[in-house]
Protein backbone atom coordinates (compact mmCIF):
# COMPACT_ATOMS: atom_id res chain seq x y z
CA UNK A 1 0.00 0.00 0.00
CA UNK A 2 1.26 3.42 -0.80
CA UNK A 3 1.14 6.36 1.55
CA UNK A 4 -1.70 7.98 -0.41
CA UNK A 5 -3.88 4.87 -0.34
CA UNK A 6 -3.28 4.48 3.40
CA UNK A 7 -4.40 8.04 3.96
CA UNK A 8 -7.41 7.58 1.71
CA UNK A 9 -8.44 4.40 3.52
CA UNK A 10 -8.16 6.07 6.93
CA UNK A 11 -10.10 9.15 5.82
CA UNK A 12 -12.76 6.96 4.21
CA UNK A 13 -13.14 5.03 7.46
CA UNK A 14 -13.89 8.24 9.36
CA UNK A 15 -16.29 9.55 6.74
CA UNK A 16 -18.09 6.22 6.64
CA UNK A 17 -18.37 6.13 10.42
CA UNK A 18 -19.87 9.61 10.37
CA UNK A 19 -22.24 8.67 7.58
CA UNK A 20 -23.55 5.78 9.67
CA UNK A 21 -23.53 7.35 13.13
CA UNK A 22 -24.32 10.97 12.14
CA UNK A 23 -22.88 12.35 15.35
CA UNK A 24 -20.42 15.12 14.55
CA UNK A 25 -21.71 16.92 11.49
CA UNK A 26 -25.31 17.56 12.62
CA UNK A 27 -24.07 18.96 15.93
CA UNK A 28 -21.57 21.20 14.14
CA UNK A 29 -24.32 22.48 11.83
CA UNK A 30 -26.75 23.19 14.63
CA UNK A 31 -24.02 24.79 16.68
CA UNK A 32 -22.87 27.19 13.98
CA UNK A 33 -26.42 28.32 13.13
CA UNK A 34 -27.23 28.80 16.80
CA UNK A 35 -24.01 30.74 17.30
CA UNK A 36 -24.77 33.03 14.36
CA UNK A 37 -28.25 33.64 15.76
CA UNK A 38 -26.77 34.55 19.12
CA UNK A 39 -24.33 36.90 17.42
CA UNK A 40 -27.20 38.62 15.66
CA UNK A 41 -28.72 39.47 19.01
CA UNK A 42 -25.35 40.20 20.61
CA UNK A 43 -24.52 42.86 18.02
CA UNK A 44 -26.30 46.19 18.40
CA UNK A 45 -28.35 47.15 15.35
CA UNK A 46 -26.52 49.11 12.72
CA UNK A 47 -23.07 47.63 13.41
CA UNK A 48 -20.62 47.55 10.57
CA UNK A 49 -19.94 44.58 8.33
CA UNK A 50 -16.46 44.39 9.79
CA UNK A 51 -17.83 43.63 13.26
CA UNK A 52 -20.11 40.94 11.85
CA UNK A 53 -17.24 39.42 9.90
CA UNK A 54 -15.21 39.20 13.09
CA UNK A 55 -17.99 37.23 14.73
CA UNK A 56 -18.12 34.86 11.76
CA UNK A 57 -14.56 33.89 12.62
CA UNK A 58 -15.40 33.32 16.25
CA UNK A 59 -18.29 31.08 15.17
CA UNK A 60 -16.10 29.11 12.77
CA UNK A 61 -13.30 28.54 15.28
CA UNK A 62 -15.71 27.25 17.92
CA UNK A 63 -17.52 25.07 15.41
CA UNK A 64 -14.20 23.59 14.37
CA UNK A 65 -13.39 22.96 18.03
CA UNK A 66 -16.61 21.02 18.37
CA UNK A 67 -15.60 18.76 15.49
CA UNK A 68 -12.03 18.40 16.70
CA UNK A 69 -13.12 17.39 20.19
CA UNK A 70 -15.05 14.50 18.67
CA UNK A 71 -12.31 13.55 16.21
CA UNK A 72 -10.45 11.01 18.32
CA UNK A 73 -13.21 9.94 20.66
CA UNK A 74 -13.95 6.73 18.76
CA UNK A 75 -10.27 5.75 18.73
CA UNK A 76 -9.96 6.39 22.43
CA UNK A 77 -13.17 4.71 23.57
CA UNK A 78 -12.70 1.58 21.49
CA UNK A 79 -8.93 1.50 22.16
CA UNK A 80 -8.43 1.86 18.43
CA UNK A 81 -5.17 3.76 18.85
CA UNK A 82 -3.23 0.62 19.68
CA UNK A 83 -4.63 -1.13 16.63
CA UNK A 84 -3.87 1.83 14.38
CA UNK A 85 -0.33 2.05 15.66
CA UNK A 86 0.20 -1.68 15.12
CA UNK A 87 -0.86 -1.44 11.49
CA UNK A 88 2.03 -1.17 9.05
CA UNK A 89 1.32 2.40 8.01
CA UNK A 90 3.36 5.50 8.53
CA UNK A 91 2.01 7.19 11.68
CA UNK A 92 1.72 10.51 9.95
CA UNK A 93 -0.78 8.86 7.58
CA UNK A 94 -3.10 8.43 10.59
CA UNK A 95 -2.83 12.16 11.21
CA UNK A 96 -3.38 13.09 7.56
CA UNK A 97 -6.38 10.78 7.20
CA UNK A 98 -7.97 12.23 10.31
CA UNK A 99 -7.17 15.81 9.27
CA UNK A 100 -8.82 15.22 5.89
CA UNK A 101 -11.93 13.80 7.55
CA UNK A 102 -12.15 16.76 9.95
CA UNK A 103 -11.58 19.12 7.02
CA UNK A 104 -14.48 17.49 5.17
CA UNK A 105 -16.79 17.96 8.19
CA UNK A 106 -15.73 21.55 8.61
CA UNK A 107 -16.22 22.39 4.94
CA UNK A 108 -19.63 20.70 5.02
CA UNK A 109 -20.60 22.81 8.03
CA UNK A 110 -19.35 25.96 6.30
CA UNK A 111 -21.27 25.22 3.12
CA UNK A 112 -24.33 25.84 5.28
CA UNK A 113 -22.84 28.43 7.61
CA UNK A 114 -21.45 30.86 5.03
CA UNK A 115 -24.72 31.31 3.08
CA UNK A 116 -26.53 31.57 6.41
CA UNK A 117 -24.08 34.26 7.46
CA UNK A 118 -24.60 36.09 4.16
CA UNK A 119 -28.35 35.96 4.68
CA UNK A 120 -28.33 36.92 8.38
CA UNK A 121 -25.83 39.72 8.03
CA UNK A 122 -24.78 41.83 5.09
CA UNK A 123 -23.41 39.48 2.50
CA UNK A 124 -20.03 37.98 2.00
CA UNK A 125 -17.13 38.73 -0.26
CA UNK A 126 -14.90 36.36 -2.18
CA UNK A 127 -11.87 37.23 -0.12
CA UNK A 128 -13.53 36.04 3.08
CA UNK A 129 -14.51 32.75 1.44
CA UNK A 130 -10.93 32.22 0.27
CA UNK A 131 -9.64 33.10 3.74
CA UNK A 132 -12.07 30.61 5.32
CA UNK A 133 -10.88 27.87 2.98
CA UNK A 134 -7.23 28.58 3.80
CA UNK A 135 -7.93 28.87 7.51
CA UNK A 136 -9.66 25.47 7.47
CA UNK A 137 -6.41 23.83 6.45
CA UNK A 138 -4.55 25.37 9.37
CA UNK A 139 -7.36 24.59 11.81
CA UNK A 140 -7.56 20.94 10.77
CA UNK A 141 -3.83 20.23 10.66
CA UNK A 142 -2.98 21.78 14.02
CA UNK A 143 -6.31 20.84 15.58
CA UNK A 144 -5.95 17.16 14.70
CA UNK A 145 -2.53 16.96 16.30
CA UNK A 146 -3.70 18.74 19.45
CA UNK A 147 -6.87 16.65 19.45
CA UNK A 148 -4.72 13.52 19.61
CA UNK A 149 -2.84 15.05 22.55
CA UNK A 150 -5.98 16.10 24.37
CA UNK A 151 -7.64 12.66 24.28
CA UNK A 152 -4.61 11.16 25.99
CA UNK A 153 -5.19 13.35 29.03
CA UNK A 154 -7.72 13.05 31.77
CA UNK A 155 -9.34 16.40 31.06
CA UNK A 156 -9.99 15.62 27.34
CA UNK A 157 -12.78 17.92 26.12
CA UNK A 158 -11.63 20.56 28.56
CA UNK A 159 -8.06 20.46 27.40
CA UNK A 160 -8.42 20.89 23.65
CA UNK A 161 -9.78 24.47 23.65
CA UNK A 162 -7.00 25.50 26.02
CA UNK A 163 -4.35 24.01 23.76
CA UNK A 164 -5.91 25.08 20.50
CA UNK A 165 -7.28 28.59 21.01
CA UNK A 166 -3.92 30.35 21.49
CA UNK A 167 -2.76 28.63 18.29
CA UNK A 168 -5.90 29.87 16.52
CA UNK A 169 -5.28 33.54 17.31
CA UNK A 170 -3.00 34.08 14.28
CA UNK A 171 -5.61 32.35 12.09
CA UNK A 172 -8.26 34.79 13.27
CA UNK A 173 -5.95 37.74 12.64
CA UNK A 174 -5.19 36.54 9.11
CA UNK A 175 -8.83 35.73 8.46
CA UNK A 176 -10.40 38.94 9.73
CA UNK A 177 -7.76 41.06 8.03
CA UNK A 178 -8.01 39.04 4.84
CA UNK A 179 -4.26 38.43 4.72
CA UNK A 180 -4.32 35.39 2.46
CA UNK A 181 -0.52 35.16 2.16
CA UNK A 182 -0.27 35.03 5.95
CA UNK A 183 -2.76 32.15 6.11
CA UNK A 184 -0.79 30.28 3.44
CA UNK A 185 2.36 30.80 5.49
CA UNK A 186 0.63 29.61 8.67
CA UNK A 187 -0.77 26.53 6.92
CA UNK A 188 2.59 25.61 5.44
CA UNK A 189 4.56 25.99 8.68
CA UNK A 190 2.15 24.25 11.01
CA UNK A 191 1.04 21.53 8.60
CA UNK A 192 4.66 20.53 8.18
CA UNK A 193 5.31 20.67 11.91
CA UNK A 194 2.18 18.67 12.75
CA UNK A 195 2.99 16.10 10.10
CA UNK A 196 6.45 15.61 11.55
CA UNK A 197 5.35 15.67 15.19
CA UNK A 198 2.34 13.34 15.11
CA UNK A 199 4.46 10.22 15.38
CA UNK A 200 5.75 11.32 18.77
CA UNK A 201 2.28 12.11 20.06
CA UNK A 202 0.84 8.62 19.44
CA UNK A 203 3.85 6.34 19.58
CA UNK A 204 3.87 5.88 23.37
CA UNK A 205 0.15 6.05 24.09
Amino acid sequence: MTYASDVAALARKDLLLELRAKETLPSMLLFVIAALTIFHFALPSGTSDVAARGLLWAALIFTALLGLTRAFVAEREQSMFDALILTPVDRSAIWLGKAIAVFAFLVAAEVVALPAFAAFFHGLNGRTVAAVALADIGICTVGTLFGAMAVAGRARELLLPLLFLPMAIPIVVGGVGGYLWFLVLYDAIFALLSWAAFEYVVSEV
Partner: protein, 226 residues
Protein backbone atom coordinates in the same frame (compact mmCIF):
# COMPACT_ATOMS: atom_id res chain seq x y z
CA UNK B 1 28.31 16.45 44.56
CA UNK B 2 29.27 19.53 42.65
CA UNK B 3 25.76 20.93 42.88
CA UNK B 4 26.38 21.87 46.52
CA UNK B 5 29.17 24.18 45.42
CA UNK B 6 27.66 25.40 42.16
CA UNK B 7 24.30 26.61 43.40
CA UNK B 8 25.50 29.01 46.14
CA UNK B 9 28.18 30.37 43.80
CA UNK B 10 25.60 30.96 41.09
CA UNK B 11 23.21 32.59 43.54
CA UNK B 12 25.95 34.86 44.90
CA UNK B 13 27.04 35.92 41.41
CA UNK B 14 23.42 36.57 40.51
CA UNK B 15 22.84 38.73 43.58
CA UNK B 16 25.98 40.76 42.86
CA UNK B 17 25.15 41.28 39.21
CA UNK B 18 21.57 42.18 40.04
CA UNK B 19 22.71 44.74 42.62
CA UNK B 20 25.02 46.29 40.05
CA UNK B 21 22.27 46.30 37.44
CA UNK B 22 19.82 48.02 39.77
CA UNK B 23 22.41 50.59 40.82
CA UNK B 24 23.22 51.38 37.19
CA UNK B 25 19.55 51.55 36.21
CA UNK B 26 18.63 53.84 39.11
CA UNK B 27 21.69 56.09 39.48
CA UNK B 28 23.96 55.84 36.45
CA UNK B 29 21.63 55.84 33.46
CA UNK B 30 20.50 59.37 32.48
CA UNK B 31 16.91 60.42 33.02
CA UNK B 32 14.71 60.18 29.95
CA UNK B 33 13.86 63.68 28.72
CA UNK B 34 10.36 62.71 27.69
CA UNK B 35 9.19 60.10 30.21
CA UNK B 36 11.29 60.95 33.25
CA UNK B 37 11.76 58.44 36.04
CA UNK B 38 9.16 56.00 34.72
CA UNK B 39 11.34 55.20 31.72
CA UNK B 40 13.70 53.35 34.07
CA UNK B 41 11.25 50.44 34.17
CA UNK B 42 12.59 49.78 30.69
CA UNK B 43 15.70 48.29 32.31
CA UNK B 44 13.54 45.68 34.02
CA UNK B 45 10.72 45.22 31.53
CA UNK B 46 12.72 44.54 28.37
CA UNK B 47 15.29 42.19 29.98
CA UNK B 48 12.36 40.30 31.53
CA UNK B 49 10.77 39.90 28.11
CA UNK B 50 14.02 38.82 26.45
CA UNK B 51 14.74 36.38 29.29
CA UNK B 52 11.26 34.90 28.88
CA UNK B 53 11.97 34.35 25.17
CA UNK B 54 15.33 32.83 26.06
CA UNK B 55 13.74 30.40 28.51
CA UNK B 56 11.03 29.37 26.04
CA UNK B 57 13.77 28.88 23.46
CA UNK B 58 15.85 26.88 25.91
CA UNK B 59 12.80 24.77 26.79
CA UNK B 60 12.19 24.06 23.11
CA UNK B 61 15.85 23.16 22.59
CA UNK B 62 15.67 20.69 25.48
CA UNK B 63 12.40 19.36 24.05
CA UNK B 64 14.14 18.71 20.74
CA UNK B 65 16.99 17.02 22.63
CA UNK B 66 14.43 14.83 24.38
CA UNK B 67 12.77 13.77 21.13
CA UNK B 68 16.16 12.86 19.68
CA UNK B 69 17.78 11.15 22.64
CA UNK B 70 14.80 10.03 24.80
CA UNK B 71 16.76 11.23 27.77
CA UNK B 72 14.42 11.79 30.71
CA UNK B 73 16.63 14.53 32.07
CA UNK B 74 16.02 16.64 28.96
CA UNK B 75 12.26 16.36 29.52
CA UNK B 76 12.61 17.66 33.06
CA UNK B 77 14.93 20.45 31.91
CA UNK B 78 12.49 21.47 29.21
CA UNK B 79 9.67 21.60 31.75
CA UNK B 80 11.68 23.66 34.22
CA UNK B 81 12.78 26.13 31.52
CA UNK B 82 9.19 26.65 30.39
CA UNK B 83 8.05 27.01 33.97
CA UNK B 84 10.61 29.79 34.47
CA UNK B 85 9.59 31.29 31.14
CA UNK B 86 5.97 31.55 32.27
CA UNK B 87 7.08 33.30 35.46
CA UNK B 88 9.22 35.78 33.53
CA UNK B 89 6.42 36.19 31.02
CA UNK B 90 3.91 36.99 33.76
CA UNK B 91 6.32 39.59 35.15
CA UNK B 92 6.71 41.05 31.65
CA UNK B 93 2.94 41.43 31.42
CA UNK B 94 2.87 43.05 34.84
CA UNK B 95 5.72 45.51 34.27
CA UNK B 96 4.49 46.29 30.75
CA UNK B 97 1.06 47.02 32.15
CA UNK B 98 2.50 49.36 34.79
CA UNK B 99 4.59 51.14 32.18
CA UNK B 100 1.59 51.51 29.89
CA UNK B 101 -0.40 53.00 32.78
CA UNK B 102 2.26 55.60 33.50
CA UNK B 103 3.18 56.41 29.90
CA UNK B 104 -0.16 56.25 28.17
CA UNK B 105 -2.61 56.34 31.06
CA UNK B 106 -4.10 52.91 30.36
CA UNK B 107 -3.43 49.57 32.01
CA UNK B 108 -3.75 47.68 28.81
CA UNK B 109 -3.10 48.71 25.24
CA UNK B 110 -3.97 46.40 22.38
CA UNK B 111 -1.76 48.56 20.22
CA UNK B 112 1.31 47.45 22.05
CA UNK B 113 2.68 44.44 20.22
CA UNK B 114 4.83 43.03 22.94
CA UNK B 115 2.10 43.00 25.58
CA UNK B 116 -0.35 41.30 23.25
CA UNK B 117 2.24 38.77 22.17
CA UNK B 118 3.01 37.97 25.78
CA UNK B 119 -0.66 37.51 26.49
CA UNK B 120 -0.91 34.98 23.65
CA UNK B 121 2.24 33.20 24.78
CA UNK B 122 1.10 33.26 28.38
CA UNK B 123 -2.17 31.57 27.39
CA UNK B 124 -0.30 29.07 25.24
CA UNK B 125 2.25 28.10 27.86
CA UNK B 126 -0.27 27.95 30.69
CA UNK B 127 -2.01 25.28 28.64
CA UNK B 128 1.35 23.45 28.62
CA UNK B 129 0.92 22.84 32.34
CA UNK B 130 -2.69 21.76 31.86
CA UNK B 131 -1.50 19.24 29.28
CA UNK B 132 1.37 18.03 31.42
CA UNK B 133 -0.70 17.54 34.54
CA UNK B 134 -3.55 15.89 32.69
CA UNK B 135 -1.40 13.06 31.32
CA UNK B 136 0.19 10.41 33.54
CA UNK B 137 3.97 10.67 33.91
CA UNK B 138 5.91 8.61 31.42
CA UNK B 139 7.27 8.68 27.89
CA UNK B 140 3.88 9.64 26.39
CA UNK B 141 3.69 12.74 28.54
CA UNK B 142 7.29 13.66 27.83
CA UNK B 143 6.68 13.30 24.09
CA UNK B 144 3.58 15.46 24.12
CA UNK B 145 5.16 18.13 26.28
CA UNK B 146 8.14 18.22 23.93
CA UNK B 147 5.97 18.55 20.83
CA UNK B 148 3.94 21.29 22.47
CA UNK B 149 7.08 23.17 23.53
CA UNK B 150 8.34 23.05 19.94
CA UNK B 151 5.02 24.40 18.66
CA UNK B 152 5.38 27.26 21.13
CA UNK B 153 8.71 28.40 19.83
CA UNK B 154 7.35 28.41 16.27
CA UNK B 155 4.22 30.22 17.44
CA UNK B 156 6.31 33.13 18.79
CA UNK B 157 7.37 34.60 15.41
CA UNK B 158 4.05 33.67 13.74
CA UNK B 159 2.06 35.42 16.46
CA UNK B 160 4.38 38.38 16.38
CA UNK B 161 3.80 38.74 12.65
CA UNK B 162 0.06 38.38 13.16
CA UNK B 163 -0.01 41.06 15.85
CA UNK B 164 2.07 43.43 13.73
CA UNK B 165 -0.41 42.89 10.91
CA UNK B 166 -3.42 43.54 13.05
CA UNK B 167 -2.52 46.47 15.26
CA UNK B 168 -1.68 50.07 14.81
CA UNK B 169 1.81 50.60 15.92
CA UNK B 170 2.34 52.82 18.95
CA UNK B 171 5.03 50.89 20.77
CA UNK B 172 8.27 52.87 21.01
CA UNK B 173 10.80 51.18 18.77
CA UNK B 174 14.09 51.20 20.60
CA UNK B 175 15.96 48.55 18.67
CA UNK B 176 16.15 49.14 14.97
CA UNK B 177 18.28 47.46 12.35
CA UNK B 178 20.54 50.52 12.37
CA UNK B 179 21.41 49.82 16.04
CA UNK B 180 19.93 50.75 19.39
CA UNK B 181 18.38 54.21 19.50
CA UNK B 182 19.74 55.25 22.87
CA UNK B 183 22.74 56.80 24.53
CA UNK B 184 25.83 54.72 25.26
CA UNK B 185 25.35 54.83 29.02
CA UNK B 186 21.75 53.70 28.63
CA UNK B 187 22.82 50.84 26.41
CA UNK B 188 25.49 49.75 28.88
CA UNK B 189 22.97 49.79 31.70
CA UNK B 190 20.55 47.83 29.58
CA UNK B 191 23.17 45.18 28.77
CA UNK B 192 24.09 44.76 32.44
CA UNK B 193 20.41 44.48 33.33
CA UNK B 194 19.89 41.88 30.64
CA UNK B 195 22.90 39.90 31.86
CA UNK B 196 21.57 40.08 35.43
CA UNK B 197 18.15 38.88 34.34
CA UNK B 198 19.61 35.98 32.37
CA UNK B 199 21.72 35.12 35.37
CA UNK B 200 18.60 35.16 37.52
CA UNK B 201 16.99 32.76 35.08
CA UNK B 202 20.02 30.47 35.19
CA UNK B 203 20.00 30.50 38.99
CA UNK B 204 16.28 29.84 39.35
CA UNK B 205 16.53 27.18 36.66
CA UNK B 206 19.36 25.42 38.50
CA UNK B 207 17.53 25.64 41.83
CA UNK B 208 14.26 24.29 40.52
CA UNK B 209 16.03 21.56 38.58
CA UNK B 210 18.01 20.51 41.65
CA UNK B 211 14.80 20.43 43.67
CA UNK B 212 12.95 18.37 41.08
CA UNK B 213 15.83 15.92 40.77
CA UNK B 214 16.04 15.55 44.51
CA UNK B 215 12.30 14.95 44.60
CA UNK B 216 12.63 12.25 41.97
CA UNK B 217 15.51 10.47 43.71
CA UNK B 218 13.59 10.56 46.98
CA UNK B 219 10.58 8.99 45.32
CA UNK B 220 12.73 6.29 43.77
CA UNK B 221 14.34 5.63 47.12
CA UNK B 222 10.94 5.43 48.76
CA UNK B 223 9.74 2.94 46.18
CA UNK B 224 12.82 0.81 46.75
CA UNK B 225 12.24 0.78 50.49
CA UNK B 226 8.55 -0.12 50.40
Amino acid sequence: MSIHLKLPALAAACTGLFGLALALALFYAPEDADQGLSQRIFYIHVPLALTAYASFGWGAWKALRYLRTRDERADLESYVAIHQGVIFGALTLLTGSIWARISWGVWWSWGEDELVLFLVLFLFYCAYFMLRYSVDPGPARANMSAVYALFGVVLIPVSFLAIRLSKQFIHPVVFKLAGPQMAGSQFLTFCVCLAAMLMLFATLYAIELAGKRLDRSLRELKELLT
